[in-house]
């Protein structure tokens, strides 16, 4: 977890709007932060425009939720920024342009993500999963040798996500919630500084949701986190700020209270009780 955030090194290319955005959202602490800046992002599939000119700025320490009705373009936005689908516009993280790069290059720029379906490597143990996440920085020679000790980052991640007691269990037999936590742990080990979590609490029990909320709050202060979620209750209890997407455009943005008070949001999404989770 040796991030690039030091007190002294203010990058030369600090954009003026970072400060503005930081002040606006009230999380400015005077240090240089990595931040996500999406400008005019546009994704179209055969003429259908899934994401239409989205602007999005998320700074470190701001736990941002991305919500919206089905088909609003939430996951597509994440796919575009993480290199899974081609997109026009710009998406920068820490001054690095992400669009147009290959998936693994984007990951090496400090961006990590999870998927709606937990995709841990089921045949390997929890420890092996986490160890692989630490791997891309290893030299070829070290990879050809056996794992003799458990890295510091791996130990830390095991503790953080609460899986230390099942470290030698095959990931395939973990409970659903544990798999999602393992995924988040893998993001921690790979030292992702920008995390995209796609519906992390879908299918979780109430207890697991609370646990996940705590986990996100713990890791959020030194990272930039974007959560795509349908669960409104979870959003209310965890989010710092919310961006509402609708038909590929940003409909509203602000704190949970602001967004909930926005009549346009109420109209398309929040106000209809059918959309909130009953359980």
């Amino acid at each position: 977890m040796t991030g690039t955030h030091s007190e002294v090194a203010l990058p030369r290319d600090v954009q003026p709007d970072v400060g503005a955005a930081t002040n606006l959202l009230g999380t400015g602490t005077g240090t240089a932060h990595d931040y996500l800046e999406v400008r005019g992002l546009r994704v179209s599939f055969d003429g259908f425009v899934a994401v239409d000119g989205v602007d999005l700025t998320v700074v470190q320490g701001d736990l941002r939720f991305l919500i919206g009705p089905n088909g609003a373009g939430k996951t597509t936005l994440v796919d575009a920024v993480t290199g899974l689908v081609p997109a026009a516009g710009s998406a920068q993280f820490g001054g690095t342009e992400l669009l147009g790069r290959k998936v693994h290059q984007i990951v090496r720029a400090g961006v990590g993500r999870t998927f709606q379906t937990a995709s841990v490597i089921e045949g390997l143990t929890v420890l092996q999963n986490l160890d692989i996440a630490a791997g891309p920085r290893r030299t070829a020679l070290r990879r050809l040798r056996r794992r003799t000790e458990v890295g510091e980052a791996v130990e830390l991640a095991l503790e953080t996500v609460g899986l230390a007691h099942v470290r030698d269990t095959a990931a395939g037999v973990l409970a659903h919630g544990q798999k999602q936590w393992l995924e988040i742990g893998m993001l921690l080990v790979q030292d992702a500084r920008l995390l995209f979590l796609d519906e992390p609490v879908a299918g979780m029990s109430q207890g697991e949701r609370e646990e996940t909320g705590r986990l996100l709050r713990t890791i959020a202060d030194r990272r930039t986190i974007v959560v795509v979620e349908h669960d409104m209750e979870f959003m209310r209890s965890v989010a710092d700020s919310v961006t509402v997407l609708h038909q590929g455009k940003v409909l509203s943005e602000g704190s949970v209270a602001d967004v909930q008070a926005d009549p346009r949001v109420v109209e398309v999404y929040l106000g209809t009780p059918a959309h909130t989770k009953e359980d």
Binding site: S119, G135, R146
Partner: protein, 416 residues
């Protein structure tokens, strides 16, 4: 975990020592020269299987065309042997018969023994690197990859057949008299060749064992199971797969190169589609995801094929097909899985061992060598074994080296 690791090194070394004694001391002592040469041939086929075990079992790449790499190694070696027999500046006999009487330029590098040894490893490695990168970069996998590699094997065999003047065509290359200066008619030299093959095979198993236990091995399994996820961990899965593919190709080529002096002939029938599938059958039956399953499976299948073909010339194909179906249908993990299945059936009463281990071999410390298997060649197929047809272990009938090489070709012809 730590307990298993502590027990590991000792068991591993014991396993290796046992295998070395069986292959290096017991087998030469109890087997006739002919049988020993046969075993040597099986060991060469097992080298291909070790590579397939890595690429397919660990990496999930269904390599249905390893005959290409086997053939490259074999032909490079055979060309060297022909040139060496012809003497400095000489022309191999078949070229005088069918060709122009001139040695083509691409034969010339094989005049040098050192260059031959280097080329045996480098040519397949470069080809596998090029092909592998091109194929995996386009995300070709599964059945498409299998079909592609199989087509490659077919094309290679057809190419060889068409070049009668320079590759010997259907006849292939044969009639070698010496191997790097050693007379191939001398039984002592033939025994040395066998020992060389045994040593090389053990070394390959050691290499694959290290790869399976290394972080690379874990990564390879991860790529097999969750290629996309691995990409999102910051790896380039293409490089991971290509590495395993190249290792498998080089192993196959070395197997082919040693096959030539031991068997005495290489022809397009050894490198085409049918032998390429044959390599795979042994691996599947033995258990592709384990360290020793591919080796033992390949040796056992080749041995069963030879002995069954001796007793029932046309029966083998049916038996091989039936065995393949039984294994795929009931033991997808191969016969290596049999022990686990039986243990599970007896119930987890002993309690010590946790039942239900979905982790493939990479997660576990490798199993040390099975006793008796390589030398006897029967042990690895306990349940479905052909039950040793009577007379199989006898003096083996009217055999000679000529019969040995004839058998090498009839093996390939058998599935007709």
């Amino acid at each position: 975990m730590s307990r298993l690791l502590a027990a590991g090194p000792l068991r591993t070394w014991a396993g290796y020592a046992l295998a070395a004694v069986l292959l290096g001391v017991v087998a030469p002592a109890v087997l006739s020269d002919f049988r020993l040469a046969l075993l040597g041939k099986f060991l060469c086929l097992a080298m291909v299987a070790v590579g397939i075990g890595l690429a397919w079992g660990q990496g999930g790449m269904l390599t249905l065309g390893q005959g290409v790499y086997f053939g490259l190694g074999a032909y490079i070696m055979a060309m060297h042997l022909k040139l060496a027999d012809a003497g400095p500046g000489g022309v191999p006999d078949f070229m005088l018969l069918y060709g122009t009487g001139e040695v083509p330029w691409w034969w010339e590098p094989m005049r040098s023994p050192a260059a031959t040894v280097v080329l045996i490893a480098v040519v397949p490695a470069v080809l596998a690197l090029t092909l592998g990168t091109a194929i995996f970069r386009r995300s070709v996998r599964g059945a498409y990859f299998a079909i592609l590699s199989q087509a490659l094997a077919a094309a290679f065999a057809i190419l060889l057949v068409g070049q009668q003047q320079t590759t010997g065509g259907t006849n292939g290359l044969n009639g070698f008299r010496s191997f790097f200066g050693y007379d191939l008619a001398d039984p002592v030299n033939r025994r040395m060749l066998y020992l060389l093959a045994a040593g090389v095979l053990l070394a390959m198993v050691a290499v694959v064992r290290q790869l399976m236990r290394s972080r690379y091995g874990e990564l390879l399994v991860a790529v097999r199971d969750q290629e996309n996820r691995v990409r999102f961990l910051g790896y380039d899965p293409v490089r991971t797969k290509v590495f395993a593919y190249v290792v498998a190709a080089v192993f196959a080529a070395v197997g082919g190169a040693l096959f030539v002096p031991i068997v005495g002939i290489v022809s397009p029938a050894d490198v085409g589609v049918v032998p390429s599938i044959g390599f795979l059958v042994g691996v599947a039956i033995g258990g592709r995801a384990t360290l020793l399953g591919p080796v033992l499976g390949a040796i056992a299948v080749a041995w069963a094929q030879t002995s069954l073909s001796e007793s029932f010339p046309s029966f083998w194909t049916y038996f091989q097909g039936a065995l393949f179906i039984v294994v795929i249908a009931f033991l997808p993990g191969g016969l290596a899985q049999l022990g686990g299945v039986l243990r599970a059936r007896r119930g987890a009463r002993p309690g010590a061992r946790v039942a239900g281990r979905p982790a493939p071999a990479a997660a576990r410390p490798a199993v040390p060598a099975l006793p008796g298997a390589p030398a006897g060649g029967r042990a690895p197929v306990p349940a479905t074994a052909p039950a040793g047809p009577a007379g199989r272990d006898g003096p083996a009938g009217p055999v000679s080296d000529a019969a040995g090489s004839a058998m090498a070709t009839t093996n390939e012809g058998a599935p007709r």
